[in-house]
Amino acid sequence: MKPDIASDTPVAGPFGSRLRSRMLHKLVDLGPALLLFVAVGVIWEWSVRFFSVPQFLLPAPSVIVERMIRMQDMLLQNLQSTMTAAILGYLLGTGVAISLAILFLYSRTAERALFPWAITIKTIPILAIAPLLTIWLGFGMAPKIAIAALICFFPTLVNTVRGLRSVDRQSMEFLQVVGASPAQTFLHARLFAALPYTFAAAKISASAAVIGAIVAEFTGANVGIGTLIVSAGYQMDATMLFAAIITSSLATIALFYSIVLLERLCLFWPEARMDI
């Protein structure tokens, strides 16, 4: 029997067409950003030529692009090292944060004991402890991964804790009335409630992890985008500096959007995404 339309009109159409129109919207959204990007590039190029800005101060985009193409092998090789460390650190930091958040959920004592430590870690200036981590963890990937993990850790912890506890009171009462176990409550309610919060932090952490790996490379690596930046500084090569930075930025953007895609998969229900 069909419902009475006068009293029960659905808010929106079936799920499928909503997704399609959403994707079209995103494409339209990108338009202005791309235009602005191109405009900035053109103004930059023209300004450098018109004002005869020396290359060591501000290289023109054409010069930077030429260098990036010419040195692509070297850039990619260093990028690979940085991104590997960044992604591993990101996974480590996020994994620990989520595990701790779940632990805090079931043990208030653990939360009271460990949360101040989490805050303390957050407040340590990364650049200051990077050399120390090199001493403690040895050289190579380990300190880079550690620093990337440290940077990701806190936002994800805070957000996930909040998300896990964000199930509304009446839903919790419902689960209590039907006698759901803590595991069932977690699986059916808390997990999904937390996902939007965790993804919000995950998106922010992604770029922070790459920066963390680069910072680690300033003081204790012989390969990576950070070492290219140091080298460029020693050789006063501003073009190389820009090339390195742009390369890592592009990779970070790619990482960010992979997480956005993953988010889209995981947050499949309507109005789930906290759109940035």
């Binding site: 029997m1 009293s7 659905p10 079936p14 799920f15 689960l175 006698g179 069932q184 999904f192 109005e271």
Partner: protein, 278 residues
């Protein structure tokens, strides 16, 4: 006051009690239940010496102004809040013991469906939690329930895609999924517009007639209570207590003529007066 109505109204602590003959068959028996919140100067007595019986398959409404403790009472009955003092028996058992073999149905003020589950998945959830039946059996039951609340075809919709009324119907279907003996409803239609609410009344009555169960229905709407219930418990606030219990003269009167009869209107006035006196 009309004599027949006067005799239908009992006041005070005896008010909620059924006759001794009926007590043995009571679905819910509440004796001397009190509840306090807060400490020291902020101490509030939410409930004071509540005594009440609800008969099997009886439709009882609890009405009262805000702060009279009606929602608290409902939560005490369902075991969501443990009672500090007094005694509660459900089908003759203590609440914990009762819940071990049968669970309450509870419909909340907000539908409180999980946004990440479709209507069908939300309805199926209690069955999954209670481990009742296999996949196919559950799917069949969900289909039946969707038909019951007149939402067949909407099973794969997410709550965000349903109107308020539809969500509340899913919520009712969910509460009925495991065939509870006792259905507790906490102002379930409060957020709906007038017309939707009237529709829901008739649907609810239809469901209840189809499969009789004990219903305790909390509302602040007198007309709603008068329409739906066998008996109405009037509560007063500060401290929360039972002011009076009224036997409804014409329960579930679908005939408009009856609803405009002097008897009916007199009972409505009496109830209003009781509420005002609190």
């Amino acid at each position: 006051m009309n004599a027949s109505i006067a005799s239908a109204t009992k006041t005070g602590t005896q008010a909620g009690n059924l006759s001794d003959a009926q007590t043995g068959a009571a679905a819910i028996r509440i004796r001397d239940v009190s509840m306090n919140f807060g400490t020291g100067a902020a101490r509030v007595q939410a409930l004071q010496n509540i005594g009440l019986d609800v008969g099997r398959n009886e439709f009882v409404s609890i009405v009262g102004r805000s702060g009279c403790g009606k929602s608290t009472l409902l939560r005490i009955i369902s075991g969501l809040i443990p009672n500090e003092s007094g005694e509660i028996r459900v089908m003759g058992h203590e609440i914990d013991a009762y819940q071990r073999h049968r669970r309450f149905g509870f419909v909340f003020q907000d539908a409180s469906l999980f946004p990440w589950k479709t209507a069908a998945q939300n309805i199926a959830l209690p069955l999954a939690i209670l481990g009742q039946g296999n996949r196919a059996a559950r799917a069949a039951r969900v289909e039946a329930l969707l038909r019951l609340v007149q939402l067949d075809g909407f099973g794969n919709h997410y709550p965000a895609q349903l109107s308020g009324g539809m969500r509340q119907r899913v919520s009712i279907a969910r509460a009925l999924a495991y065939e509870p003996e006792i259905l507790l409803m906490d102002e379930p239609f409060g957020a709906l517009d007038e017309f939707t609410r009237r529709e829901m009344h008739d649907q609810l009555i239809g469901i209840w007639r189809n499969k009789p169960m004990t219903v305790v229905f909390v509302t602040h709407s007198l007309s709603e209570a008068l329409y739906l219930s066998d008996r109405i418990v009037v509560m007063a606030p500060r401290p929360g207590r039972v002011r009076a219990v009224v036997d409804v003269v014409h329960p579930r009167a679908s005939d408009r003529a009856v609803r405009q009869s002097p008897e009916y209107l007199a009972q409505l006035n009496e109830l209003e007066a009781l509420l005002d006196e609190a």
